[in-house]
Symmetry: C2
Subunit: 228 residues, 2 copies
Amino acid sequence: MQAATPTHPNNSKTAVVIYSGGMDSFTVLNRAIADGFKVYALSFHYGQRHSKELDCAASVCAELGVPHKVVDIRAINTLLAGSALTSDIDVPDADYAEGNMQATVVPNRNMILLSLAIGYAVSIDADEVYYGAHSGDHDIYPDCRPEFVEAMNTVSKLANYKEIPVRSPYLYNSKDEILADGLAMQLDYSNTWTCYNGREKACGKCSACRERLAAFAQHGLTDPIAYE
Amino acid sequence: MQAATPTHPNNSKTAVVIYSGGMDSFTVLNRAIADGFKVYALSFHYGQRHSKELDCAASVCAELGVPHKVVDIRAINTLLAGSALTSDIDVPDADYAEGNMQATVVPNRNMILLSLAIGYAVSIDADEVYYGAHSGDHDIYPDCRPEFVEAMNTVSKLANYKEIPVRSPYLYNSKDEILADGLAMQLDYSNTWTCYNGREKACGKCSACRERLAAFAQHGLTDPIAYE
């Protein structure tokens, strides 16, 4: 993959990137590399149905030569019961909309993942944490909104001896715009996984698939992954 | 144990209390009860040498009739390598002082524990999270300082559909003053554990033991637990 023009050039710094294996965080990972960071990818195994994401993440990191850490946080599910993404509740077949998608909300998810990523950054003496909040999630998920990201950035600069800024490069961009940046970086999205259902092929029906398909359609492109 | 006069009376609310089994969080637990909260105790098994703390916590919660959740977060130690509290580095035999005690710092510890406690609070529909930062730790641990606690409180009110305030009732008190409040609540400290070394009896030499012994001496009392 070819690096595009840096938007935040920094050749001597290191960033931990929260990388799920999905298309947004795949773009964030490549954005951090394009920005000149030495990157450490961090994925979480939280018992997601769509663990194919993690296979994609491992394969992409191997290809890019990026160190990749997968941390198993399934033990904390006993604390956070009730989400469709980690339990037996059915994933809604619908576009995202407040109400029917609250079933997919894991309590305090992003604060937990960011706090672990910040701890990892401190332990390897990294300088920043990148993660992929975007404007499409603002209405539904409080922990994807700019005020949350700002507040996490503030607390992250106070919590350790070293200040670790939290950077969310697509905070004000739509999923469609994230894809546009990825296409400008000439990224190949065939090794990303978005579907909430963990079957062999993507379902094409869950809200995550619908959003993804809509983003490719917006660019007049066909999504390179296989659908049922 | 007898409830003292509430400082923050609230008879209809529920609090998650981060409760290690040590004397400070034992006092916080009882303070929350005295303040009128229905309390859910939360302990973390992070591979501490002093896991006798957890035994104390379980026994106290059973005695108080408080629901007690212990969550095993040892899997995240692969992220947070290098602390004396979870690894084979020797625990310093000395009073706390910046420099020699940085070896006992777990990267981003309190943000991680608080983020999990906040997630737990959301999942059980609790109203607040209590934890025991105190002034004696301000110099050494950034994540025990008032500005950190304030910032966590801010982000915790933004991260979920429900605002979960983070309350640290002894934030501006010394360990000695925490003990004073516990004594005013007529608490029995024989079922608390503080020593960093996980042996049969407390060592009396590590910095945690020294602080604890000094707090009892300050009140002209003998610590009720057994020392080597």
